[in-house]
Symmetry: C2
Subunit: 129 residues, 2 copies
């Protein structure tokens, strides 16, 4: 099956924040052996493409299996209600495509390690312990 990853961010009024997501999707797409035939970004609110537009774009590109990944740190209504609702709606309109939602980012078991790595990168030149 042709498999696409749709990375869902909240969407921001600052285009710079949305651009970060677009670059992240490009970066993931560039990973060798990432397991996907394509990686696209989409936004729950404010920015475009919307989730339904993103799913439609994947289907147009030939996707037969779409994994929707919520790029959210906390499991709130967006993760448990809004995104599944958008998926259910898109699924109804494209019953031939398999659409699944993955774990949201904040639930990642590797998060503690990532935070530790990140905390070691201090802006200022002065570092000591």
């Amino acid at each position: 099956l042709i498999k696409y990853l749709l990375l869902i961010a909240h969407g921001s009024r600052r285009q710079g924040a949305n651009d970060e997501i677009i670059r992240l999707a490009e970066s993931i797409a560039g990973h060798a052996d990432n397991g996907y035939d394509g990686v696209l970004p989409a936004f729950l609110e404010i920015a475009e493409p919307s989730i339904s537009e993103g799913i439609k774009r994947c289907v147009e590109l030939g996707a037969e299996h779409i994994v929707v990944m919520p790029y959210f740190l906390a499991a709130g209504n967006h993760v448990y209600k809004d995104i599944p609702g958008e998926i259910a709606c898109a699924q109804a309109g494209a019953p031939e495509v398999k659409i699944e939602m993955s774990q949201y980012l904040g639930a990642s078991e590797a998060m503690a390690s990532l935070v530790l790595d990140c905390s070691r990168r201090v802006d200022q030149a002065s570092t000591s312990s």
Copy 2:
């Protein structure tokens, strides 16, 4: 130097989201060789402890060097203005303590890999490619 990590989340009206941050800080604290004498959570808004309270708590626990890590995905005003402002204010009140801000979560170079790992964890039992 006694070194503490202060993990800063936005803060949510849903206590469940705040509890996730508290558990994450505990999980990081439990990592062997994490490089910190202690790891505490704090919140920019809404939830407690605040950043200033969190820094004060680190100092009371003996911290001589505090790394403040923004648990934020996007680099907006919170990361570039609000958190540095809180740090500057706390630093003025505790000049003997070295307080630094690290990279924010979303800037992590390992984020693409984490998203990929996370996307492979699909809720539903049906998985194929």
